[in-house]
Every structure is written in C-alpha cells, then in structure tokens.
Amino acid sequence: MSSVRRAVSAPAARLGLVRALVGGYTLVYLARRRTMLRKVVRTDPAMFAPVGPVRALRRPVPPPVADALNDATLVSTALFALGAGHRLIGPLHSALLSWTLSYRNSWSMIFHSDNALVVHTLVLGASRAADAVSADAFLARGPEPAPHPRYHWPLRLMNASTTAVYLLSGVSKVARADGWSWVRGDSLRRQIAIDGVRKEVFGSHAAPTAYALYRHKALFTLFAVGSLILELFAPLSLLGRRFGRLWAVSWFGMHWGIRVIMGIKFRYQMSGVAFAAWFDLERLLDLVRRAR
C-alpha cells in the first residue's frame, strides 16, 4: 500500500468503534429523556414551531404517534449501536433520529447542542460503519477488512462537520453589527450574566463560578479571544492529525469550562464522543486483546 493511500485509509475497527460510541451515547441520551419527550409532545399545539424535516407538518402529529416514533428511534438506536443490519438500520436510524430531535426542537426552542450528533449519525448511517466491531461482522465470521479509504472518509467528514459547527459559531460572533468587538469579552461576560439571571428568575441557580469570575474582565477577554481563534481557525485542524487532536482536546476542555462557568451542559461534546473520530480508537481493541 502506498504512503498516500495509507494516509487516506483507516481500519474498519476505528469507524466501527466510533459508530458504537455515537450509538451508545444516543441510546443513553434518548432513554433518559423518554418521559420528558412524552410530555413535550403534549405541549399546547399553539407553541408548535416546526424546524428541519418537521417543517413538512402544519400542526403536530397526535401524541401517540409521536410517542411511537420516539420509541422506534430508541430501538433503531440500539440496533445502530450494535451494528445490526446496518445497511438498512443505518439510514433508517439517521432518519428517525433527525425526525425525533427536530420534533423535540419544534416547540419554540432550538437546542443547538444536538446539531453535531444528528450530522455525525447521518454520516455514520450512510457509510460502511459496521464492517467491524458490530453484530453484522460477528455473524459474517469473516476476516477483518483491510484498512481502506472507505473507512477513512466518514471519519474525515465527521471531523469536517464538527469544525463547521464551530466555524459557523465564530462567524456569527464577528458578523454582528459591532463586528469584532466580541473579542473584548464584554459580550461573553454579559452572555454569562444574562444566562445566570434567567436561571435565577426561573427557579434555578446560576453557576457559583459565574458570580466569582464576573468581576475579572480581563479573564473574559482571554476566553473570548481563545474561543474565537479556536472557532475561526477550526478548518485548519483538518490539515494535520496531531493538530486536529490538539484542537479536539481544546474544545473538549472548553466545553467542560463552559459547564463550570455557565452551568450549560453540551453533553455530546462533554462526553468526548463528539471528538472520537479524531483518534485511533482501534488501539483500545489492541490493548484489550493484549490484556487477554
């Protein structure tokens, strides 16, 4: 295999492990929200503001239908995580998850933290992500496929879509009427403040760190400059694997920082699963094999 081809190839196990991780995360995420989703779909229909594929609807579907679709998504998530019947389940699960999360976001509030999860699932569902580390591979009982570009491009596309999310966030910050003033940190500082005030008036509590750090303006300038650099230069992380991993680890840390300072949980990112495609996860399997 030439060095160029090696560089654009990946083992099937790496992609398979990423699929299992994304599927496993989604399963826990949806299972823990099943009761909440049942309540949300029974919200006053006047609050319905469809987004994404749900825009095809003029009014909400009857709650029992929405419940059935949520439960079907849970089942497809489990099969997707296991890698069972992937050629059918992969695209079906992508469609069901896109629908379920879009429907959940169609009640006057969009939760942007789920965007990356939907796109990553779409990519995994459309690729050969169950050629290894899957029920399909176990039942086929064949040798593990050789590293191939077909296992590489989905990982690259997942990484590219992740960088796009951050790039869009960065562009949104500097495309405001007052342009680059975001780097001063005032907007970030006030965003944290207003978030804390909202929490307090709705019976929750602002993060104690928000109060503690608020007086330190210079710190927010530092945070603002740092996050903006990581966002606007996000596509550069695709140029080299080491640089990409460093970028991914930086954002992983940033999301935990946001959790501490603002009390906002970007669960997919904080779990690390959102950044899994940057890493050679198959090495974990080697470690397990050696341990045996």
Binding site: M1, M36, K39, V40, T43, D44, M47, V51, G52, L101, S102, R104, W107, S108, M109, I110, F111, H112, N115, V118, V119, L122, P145, A146, H148, P149, R150, W153, L157, A160, S161, A164, V165, L168, S169, V171, S172, A175, R176, A177, W182, S187, R190, Q191, A193, I194, G196, V197, R198, K199, E200, V201, F202, G203, S204, A206, A210, Y211, Y214, R215
Partner: protein, 174 residues
C-alpha cells in the same frame, strides 16, 4: 474484487455525499446576508444566532411570579410553567407574552394548572412580569433583583371548603 478496491460508484457516491453534507452545513451562512429581522434559524442546520445578539448591561426577562395571600411574592420554577426545560419554557413564555402580545392568555391558562399543583397551595394569584435587570449589579452583588412591570395577572381558582364534597363513610351513616 480485493479488499483494496472501491466498489463500483462507491467513491463517486462518497464524494457527492461529502459535498452535499458540507454544503448543507455551511448553507446557513447566507443568513448573515439577510436583514436581521428576516433571518431564520433551523435544526440541525443553524447559523447560531445566539452569538449574534448584542448583549448590553441592562437586560429584560419575562417570567412568572406567584403571589401569596399576604402579598409576598415568589418566582415560579420553570417546571411549573411547562415541560422541556428552563430555556424551552422561557422561549414559550416570551413568545406568547411579547412576540404575540397575549400575556393575559398565558396567565389565564397557567392559573388553573397552579391550582392543581401541590407546591402552589399557598398561592392566590399569578403574575406574568417583565423584569429589567442591571447585569453588573446582579452578578457583582450576588443579588438578582430588578424592576418588574406586571404584564398580566390571574387569580388562582380555589374550591371553597364549604363546597368540598365528602363521601359519607359507613360510620357517618345513621
């Protein structure tokens, strides 16, 4: 076919899919070219409008307050107002009270729900208020107090004790 080769059309499909996904991801950038009031957010494709908003020292928040018989006041927890979490409830309240200008409608619908809630037995009235907060004061003094403007108010219906129907037990029968 060996494992080293692409299946027919596989590579072309992968390229096309990649272009479509990345094109779709970046498509919301065009929202920045539109006037601010005509921009539309979406899911899962977004231009992340929350980062475009200008944040000032003074901020307005619309929320609900419960009033007790002695006129003391208590801010109502989001879970009493609706499901889906704090931010969803906040957006829904803002939509009805400000965007659609029907705060009374929200208060009237909320009052009977509060009447049925065990944690709200001490409330006699619910108010939808618009609070103005000086963010610096709130965060530096660790005290979230603002100036409230009442947008709507609704009495919480209570069943008078005299009208409570008591099922007669065997011991009560003559």
């Amino acid at each position: 076919m060996t494992g080293d080769l692409w299946a027919p059309h596989e590579r072309r499909r992968a390229t096309l899919f990649t272009v479509l996904v990345m094109g779709a991801m970046l498509w919301p950038l065009r929202q920045h070219l539109r006037p601010a009031d005509r921009r539309v957010d979406g899911f899962p494709l977004s231009y992340y409008p929350m980062f475009s908003k200008r944040r000032r020292q003074h901020a307005h928040v619309v929320y609900a307050v419960g009033v007790l018989a002695d006129d003391s006041r208590r801010r109502l927890r989001h879970s009493l107002l609706g499901s889906g979490g704090l931010n969803q409830v906040r957006h829904q309240l803002y939509r009805v009270a400000i965007t659609e200008d029907h705060p009374q409608q929200y208060a009237d619908a909320l009052a009977p729900r509060l009447a049925a809630h065990p944690s709200c037995t001490d409330l006699v009235r619910v108010e939808i208020v618009r609070g103005e907060f000086d963010l610096d004061t709130c965060l530096l003094d660790h005290r979230v107090e603002g100036t409230e403007t009442v947008l709507a108010t609704a009495d919480i219906p209570r069943v008078p004790a005299a009208f409570v129907i008591v099922e007669p037990s065997e011991g009560m029968q003559a």
